[in-house]
C-alpha cells in the first residue's frame, strides 16, 4: 500500500500541490485525472522519489520515501512523462542497464528482459538504437523499463501519449492485466481511458484534490437532476399536456416539431428517472400517443470532470472560520478572538 499524507509542493512561492492525501490499495488501478498543469506530474514525481516534497509524507509498503529511499524505491516502477531513455543505446542494452540498476542479476535478468519485451511487443526492435525509434516505441521502451523486476507498484505518467489507437488499446489491456499482481497509479487527461481502466479516480486541479471515488459513485453523485428525451408521434398539444402534468416532471425545457406529426421533447425530471419513464409510457399509450424513442441523459465522466474542475474551491468565510475556532476555545476573551480573526484572514489569503 502507498500512503500519501498531506503532500505539498512549492515551486518558489507558487504552490503546485496543496496538502493532498490519499492511499493506493493493493491490486488497484488508481486514475489520476486533471487538466494540464494540475500538479499530476509533480505529485507522481514526489511519489516516485524524484522530487523532494515541501511538506507531507509518502510511505511505500511502510518505507518512507525520504527516510528510506533505497528500500522504498525497490517497490516501484516509474514511467515519467518523457520516457527516460538514452538515445545512444540499443533497446536491449538499455533494458539490461535498467535491470542492473534495479539489482536484477544473471539468468533472472535475461528472462525478465524477454518477458517485458514480449509484453510490450518490442522484441523486434531490441537491436535498434533508441534514437531511431518512433515516439510510440520510445514510450513502450520506457514502459518496459518500469515493468522490469516486477515492482509491486507502478507509477505511469500518461503512458498512452504518442501511441496509435491500436497500441493504446494494447497498452490499456496490459495495464488491466497488471492489476492481478500490481497496483497502478496512472495519470491521464483522456477520460474514456480512465473510465475504461481505473477502479478509482483522483481528480485534481490546481494542486487540490477535487474528488476521490469510484467512477460509478462519481457519476451517481451527479445524477440527481436527470433529463429525459422523448420522441413521440401524435398531436403535439395532447402530448405536451400529458407529459407536462405527469408526476416527477418538473418542466418541459424543449419541444421541437419534427414534422409528420412527430415531436421531440426534452424534459427535466425530479425523481427516479426509471419510474417516471414507465409511468409516462403508460399514460401516452392510453391517450393514443405512440412513443418512438425515450432515453435519459446520464452524466458521464466527462461531465463530472468538467463540473468538478470548474467548480470553485469552496472558500470559507471569515465568520465560518471564526465559528470553527471559537467553540473549541470555549468562552473567549477579546484578545483571543482578535488573534483568531487574524489567523483566519491569513488562511483566507492562502486559499
Amino acid at each position: 500500500m502507498i500512503t500519501i499524507e498531506n503532500l505539498t509542493k512549492f515551486y518558489g512561492n507558487n504552490r503546485a500541490v496543496n496538502d493532498i492525501s490519499f492511499t493506493i490499495n493493493d491490486n488497484e488501478i488508481l486514475g489520476f485525472l486533471g487538466p494540464n498543469g494540475a500538479g499530476k506530474s509533480t505529485t507522481m514525481n514526489m511519489i516516485a522519489g524524484y522530487l523532494p516534497m515541501s511538506g507531507g509524507k509518502v510511505t511505500i509498503c511502510g518505507d518512507d520515501i525520504t527516510e528510506n529511499p533505497v528500500k522504498a524505491k525497490r517497490n516501484i516502477g516509474y514511467l515519467p512523462e518523457i520516457p527516460p531513455v538514452y538515445p545512444d543505446m540499443k533497446v536491449r542494452e538499455y533494458l539490461d542497464f535498467c535491470a542492473g540498476l534495479k539489482g536484477i542479476k544473471g539468468k533472472e535478468k535475461k528472462s525478465e528482459m524477454d518477458r517485458v519485451m514480449t509484453l510490450l511487443k518490442i522484441t523486434d526492435v531490441q537491436n535498434k538504437l533508441i534514437r531511431n525509434l518512433s515516439k510510440g516505441y520510445k514510450q513502450r521502451v520506457g514502459f518496459a523499463q518500469a515493468l522490469l523486476g516486477n515492482p509491486k507498484f507502478l507509477i505511469l505518467d500518461e503512458p498512452t501519449v504518442g501511441l496509435d489507437p491500436n497500441q493504446v488499446i494494447e497498452v490499456r489491456s496490459i495495464i488491466k492485466d497488471l492489476k492481478k499482481e500490481h497496483s497502478v497509479i496512472f495519470s491521464s487527461h483522456i477520460l474514456s481511458e480512465v473510465s475504461a481502466v481505473c477502479d478509482r479516480v483522483v481528480i485534481i486541479n490546481k494542486g487540490d484534490i477535487r474528488a476521490i471515488d469510484t467512477i460509478e459513485n462519481l457519476e451517481k453523485s451527479f445524477n440527481d437532476s436527470s433529463v429525459l428525451h422523448i420522441r413521440c408521434a401524435g398531436s403535439k398539444a395532447a402530448a405536451a399536456a400529458i407529459i407536462g402534468v405527469a408526476d416527477g416532471v418538473s418542466e418541459i425545457t424543449e419541444a421541437v416539431d419534427e414534422g409528420n406529426n412527430i415531436t421531440s421533447f426534452t424534459v427535466k425530471l425530479s425523481g427516479n428517472a426509471d419510474q417516471i419513464q414507465e409511468k409516462l409510457l403508460a399514460d401516452c399509450l392510453k391517450n393514443q400517443i405512440s412513443m418512438l424513442e425515450v432515453y435519459t441523459d446520464k452524466p458521464n465522466l466527462e461531465k463530472v470532470f468538467t463540473e468538478l474542475i470548474n467548480r470553485p474551491v469552496q472558500k470559507k468565510s471569515v465568520d465560518e472560520l471564526l465559528n470553527e475556532i471559537v467553540p473549541e476555545t470555549g468562552n473567549t476573551d477579546a484578545a483571543e478572538s482578535k488573534d483568531a480573526e487574524a489567523d483566519s484572514e491569513e488562511k483566507e489569503e492562502n486559499e
Binding site: P52, Y78, Y86, F97, L101, K102
Partner: protein, 244 residues
C-alpha cells in the same frame, strides 16, 4: 553502482567519443614530445626528460578534460534520464562515484596511449623508470582532481557545451593559480599569497615531475577530489530540492 559504470563506459567506447578524445590527446602529446626532442642539440646541457613533457602536457589537458566530463550530468538532465537514476534504488552518492570511475577509466585509457613513447625510447636508449613512474603517478592524481572538478561543473547545467566552456575557464584559473599568486600585486599581501599558493595544484604536480612522491601532495589531490565529488553530490541534491 556497477551497471552505471558499465553504461558510462559503453557511452564512451561504443561511440567514437573516447577514441576521438584519446587521439586528440595523443596528437598534442606527440607534438610536445617532438618539440622536446627537437630542442636537444650538442649545446643543450639539459637532458631530455619525460617528466618535462608531462608538465607541459597539463596545459592541453585543461582543454580536453572538460570535454570528457561535460556530458556526465548535463546530458542526463537533457534527455530526462536523471529521473531514471534518481528513482532507481541506487543512492546519489553511488551514482556520482560510478560516473567518476568511468571518467577515470577513459582518462587512464588516454594516458595509456602515451606509454608508447617511453617504450620506444627504452628500446633504443635508456629511460629512468623510477622517474617515469613518478610522473605517471603525478599526472594520474592531478587528472583525478580535475575530472572531479569537471563533473562538478557538469552538474550545474543541462547544456553540455556550457559545462565544457565553464569547465575550461575554471580549470584554467586553477592551473594558473600559482602564477597569479606570484604576481607583484598579490605579493603585497603575503597572507593572501600563501593561501592561494596552498590551493595551487601546479607546484605540487611539479614535485612529481621532479621525481618526488610526497605524501602531502598525494593527500592534496585526494582530498581535493573528495571535496569536488561531495560538492557534486550536494549540487545534484540541491538542484532537486529547488527545481522549478
Amino acid at each position: 553502482m556497477f551497471p552505471i559504470y558499465k553504461k558510462e563506459l559503453q557511452s564512451f567506447f561504443y561511440t567514437p567519443f573516447a577514441y576521438a578524445i584519446a587521439a586528440l590527446f595523443m596528437l598534442l602529446f606527440t607534438y610536445i614530445f617532438g618539440v622536446a626532442i627537437g630542442s636537444i642539440d650538442s649545446s643543450n646541457t639539459m637532458k631530455f626528460s619525460f617528466t618535462e613533457v608531462f608538465y607541459n602536457v597539463t596545459l592541453y589537458f585543461i582543454f580536453l578534460l572538460p570535454i570528457l566530463t561535460m556530458r556526465t550530468f548535463a546530458d542526463e538532465r537533457k534527455f530526462g534520464t536523471e529521473v531514471l537514476l534518481m528513482t532507481s534504488p541506487v543512492s546519489v552518492l553511488k551514482i556520482v562515484i560510478a560516473k567518476f570511475l568511468a571518467n577515470m577509466t577513459v582518462y587512464i585509457f588516454m594516458l595509456a596511449g602515451t606509454l608508447v613513447y617511453p617504450i620506444i625510447t627504452a628500446l633504443n636508449g635508456e629511460v629512468v623508470i623510477s622517474q617515469l613512474i613518478c610522473a605517471y603517478i603525478g599526472i594520474f592524481s592531478w587528472g583525478m582532481m580535475f575530472i572531479a572538478l569537471g563533473m562538478l561543473i557538469s552538474s550545474f547545467t543541462e547544456n553540455s557545451i556550457i559545462a565544457a566552456i565553464i569547465g575550461e575557464i575554471v580549470m584554467f584559473a586553477v592551473l594558473f593559480l600559482d602564477d597569479f599568486a606570484n604576481t607583484a600585486f598579490i605579493s603585497q599581501y603575503p597572507k593572501l599569497q600563501s593561501v592561494l599558493y596552498a590551493f595551487a595544484a601546479q607546484p605540487r604536480f611539479a614535485y612529481f615531475s621532479q621525481g618526488f612522491i610526497r605524501l602531502s601532495d598525494l593527500v592534496f589531490f585526494a582530498s581535493a577530489t573528495i571535496v569536488y565529488l561531495v560538492w557534486t553530490y550536494i549540487s545534484i541534491e540541491k538542484r532537486r530540492w529547488k527545481r522549478g
